[in-house]
């Protein structure tokens, strides 16, 4: 005779709130659509140490698995995380098949070398942007899974960026060149941030913001359709990462005003690094700035023309940075003399 289970069913009375009937919107059933009833209540402080999905019934005897250091909403939250995550899902692309590699033709040696040096540098940079968010994901309570999901999408995006630049370096008779070490873990670098917002201000707003400007100018330095596609697709991803940083900083500024001065200090630091810093491809580091100037000018013999375009890119980096920081709610630093950005813009226009 087959065994029969003695059912207790007590758990049916201990489940989360009942009656949730989320409906798909015109973009499908998005994360925003399932913020229904209690499931849309995001706690200001999370006491969830068991990895319980937000809104599920709690078991008093459940093991504490989470050594989460990020348990305050203002430390990581942003209003549009659901949107950014869904967009990341919709805009997944493949460097193997979405980049027309066959469009690459042999280039003059100086241009190919510049392309390969820049690709080597960008591979290093993308390594940072993959490693660092991953570290913060495991430290964030699952009650804030929406921003965590955006960061997971970012880690995936960066893996793809890393791979597309490596592919470019090895696809056209060149190779990888010298690493710059520009992403070393020194005080003030993205790696060594002790706080999520500190990290985000460096990674998303300053670092990726500077790279985004360059990717957006990709048309100016691309020599074939493959490179154009590469920069365009990467720019699309970077724009989401930058938006994460801006929206998070805005949320932090609105909900934790006591931290504004501290955030301004991170921005001071970021601004000292934004152009001179070794993580900015258009910065002072010879490997990347010289390669960019060669690519922008059209060869070593037109280096000066390339430099003029490089300075134009720097201007644009500063203008876009300023807009982002204003949008995040820290615009007064540009009006009260705290930030050198205005002077930098004036110097670059001279």
């Amino acid at each position: 005779m087959e065994p029969v289970l003695d059912m207790q069913l007590d758990w049916m009375d201990q489940q989360g709130s009942w009656g949730a009937a989320a409906e798909p919107s015109k973009q499908g059933l998005t994360l925003a659509d399932i913020q229904v009833g209690a499931y849309g209540d995001v706690p200001e402080e999370s006491d969830n140490m068991t990895g319980r999905p937000r809104g599920a019934g709690a078991r008093p005897e459940s093991y504490r698995i989470g050594g989460y250091s990020v348990r305050s909403k203002h430390e990581i939250w942003l209003e549009n995380a659901s949107f950014l995550y869904e967009e990341a899902l919709q805009r997944q692309w493949s460097s193997a098949t979405d980049v027309p590699w066959d469009s690459i033709e042999p280039l003059p040696d100086d241009i190919e070398q510049a392309e390969c040096q820049l690709a080597t540098f960008l591979t290093e940079v993308e390594f940072v942007a993959g490693d660092v968010p991953a570290r913060w994901i495991s430290q964030t309570t699952p009650d804030y899974f929406e921003p965590r999901n955006v960061l997971l999408a970012q880690v995936m995006d960066e893996a793809r960026h890393m791979d597309v630049f490596r592919k470019r370096a090895l696809a056209n008779g060149g190779g990888l060149m010298g690493a710059t070490g520009g992403t070393a873990g020194v005080v003030g670098s993205i790696d060594l941030a002790r706080d999520f917002t500190e990290m985000s201000s460096r990674l998303h707003i300053s670092g990726e913001g500077a790279v985004l400007t360059i990717f957006r100018m990709g048309e100016l330095m691309a020599y074939n359709e493959a490179e154009k596609a590469m920069y365009r697709l990467c720019a699309q991803d970077e724009a989401r990462h930058v938006a994460f940083g801006v929206m998070h900083m805005r949320y932090m500024s609105e909900t934790a005003p006591e931290r504004r001065e501290e955030i301004d200090c991170y921005l001071d630091e970021a601004e000292r690094q934004i152009l001179a810093g070794s993580q900015n491809p258009a910065g002072a580091q010879a490997e990347s700035s010289e390669s960019l100037a060669i690519l922008l000018g059209g060869g070593k013999d037109q280096y000066d023309e390339g430099v003029n375009k490089l300075i134009a890119i720097r201007r644009r980096q500063l203008q876009e940075y300023q807009k982002r920081v204003r949008s995040a709610g820290f615009g007064e630093r540009f009006d009260n003399g705290r930030s050198p950005i205005k002077e930098m813009l004036a110097a670059s226009a001279a």
Partner: protein, 367 residues
């Protein structure tokens, strides 16, 4: 006209001059030295796309495909590039190939990218129709525990990923897709739980999650618990749930989740095999880990909540859950034990039934 940087004496630099330097940096570009030119470990590399495009694995040509047994470089030097001297290390703790490698990592990465899906739009949510309350409660309970499994995947992988050195970037890249897959599963399971008049269930006991997250002995230990043990069970569970799905939406969710899990299992088995092949003692360590893990596993499986919920799902409701549903549940556990022990033995780890916890041994014997 190119503006050149003014020379400064670093010893006399004050705060003021530093600020001035920052401002000046916007307009200055040093005269080119081109010292970086003509520096490559291997030039003339021309990798061509194949019929599946230009894949990550295609790049492993010449020195770029030389994957060292140990990677001492703790910077972000891309494999094959010329390292720069004097760069402060970042403290990567996983620097041995045997601790992380699987030959298929590059292919799994490309496959994960090709098989993209978005739960918002690729799941036919319109096919979800009202179900009896006990059945809906049971489905929601199972999905809640699956959300926790996915969360455990996310937290485990992301806590190790950044500790892996860049000599083995293919693995890091595959794992980036694996943690993203887990996020997508978490999302899809949650969406299903909240779209049909139900809600989330009661959280799981969490003892196995704790065991996985507390794998301090290295990434291979985490892979043993997260992928070999929990992964085999999750695959079995998803296969059954796909078979007993109540609509196309559920079927689609479970089928997509199965694909991601299958990639994870491929990586895991290949990695563990590679690891054992390079250090025989690892086999004994894994046997010890599994001996301990089995007892924790059995305790968690004794929890009546998931068992009862699955019996209801498999029986289509409460009425036949205690007999018909339970019979299917037991078959699922037998399948799991067969696959789990079979995989261990494929890896060369003998599992003596007499050393297994009683319930697991019974399922194995009946399988």
């Amino acid at each position: 006209m190119v503006k050149t940087a003014a020379k400064t004496d670093s010893k006399t630099k004050s705060k003021k001059t530093t600020a001035r330097d920052t401002v000046a940096s916007a307009a200055e570009v040093p005269k080119p030295g081109y010292h970086w030119m003509n520096r490559s470990n291997q030039w003339d590399t021309r990798v061509k796309p194949g019929k599946h495009g230009l894949r990550l694995g295609d790049l492993n040509v010449g020195i770029y495909g030389e994957i060292p047994e140990q990677w001492q470089d703790q910077t972000r030097n891309p494999r094959g590039a010329i390292p720069r001297k004097g760069v402060p290390p970042l403290g990567y703790s996983i620097r041995d190939k045997a601790d992380v490698w699987a030959d298929s990592a590059a292919d799994l990465y490309e496959e994960a990218i090709q098989r993209k899906w978005a739960p918002a739009t690729d799941v036919p949510w319109g096919t979800v129709k009202p179900l009896s309350e006990p059945l809906e409660r049971a489905i929601c309970q199972v999905l809640t525990e699956l959300c926790q499994y996915a969360n455990c995947d996310v937290e485990t992988i992301s806590q190790w990923q950044h500790q892996m050195s860049y000599g083995y970037h293919e693995v890091k890249q595959y794992l980036a897709t694996a943690s993203f897959d887990a996020a997508r599963m978490h999302e899809a399971f949650r969406k299903r739980a909240l779209c049909n008049g139900g809600g989330l269930g009661l959280e799981g006991p969490g003892e196995v999650n704790r065991m996985i997250l507390e794998s301090r002995g290295g990434w291979s230990e985490a892979v043993t618990y997260l992928m070999l043990m929990r992964g085999t069970f999750t695959m079995t569970l998803l296969r059954y749930l796909e078979k007993f799905a109540y609509n196309d939406a559920e079927q689609s969710i479970y089928a997509n989740a199965l694909q991601a899990k299958a990639r994870q299992m491929t990586y895991a088995l290949e990695h563990l095999q590679y690891s054992i092949a390079h250090d025989e003692e690892r086999k004994a360590i894994m046997a010890t880990l599994l001996f301990i893990g089995d007892r924790i596993w059995e305790r968690e499986m004794a929890d009546h909540v998931l068992r009862e919920a699955l019996c209801i799902v498999f029986a289509g409701g409460l009425e036949k859950a205690p007999d018909q549903g339970y019979a299917i549940y037991q078959k699922m556990q037998r399948d799991f034990m067969r696959d789990y022990v079979g995989t261990c033995e494929w890896l060369g780890i003998k599992r003596d039934p007499a050393m297994l916890p009683e319930a697991m041994a019974d399922y194995l014997e009946a399988s």
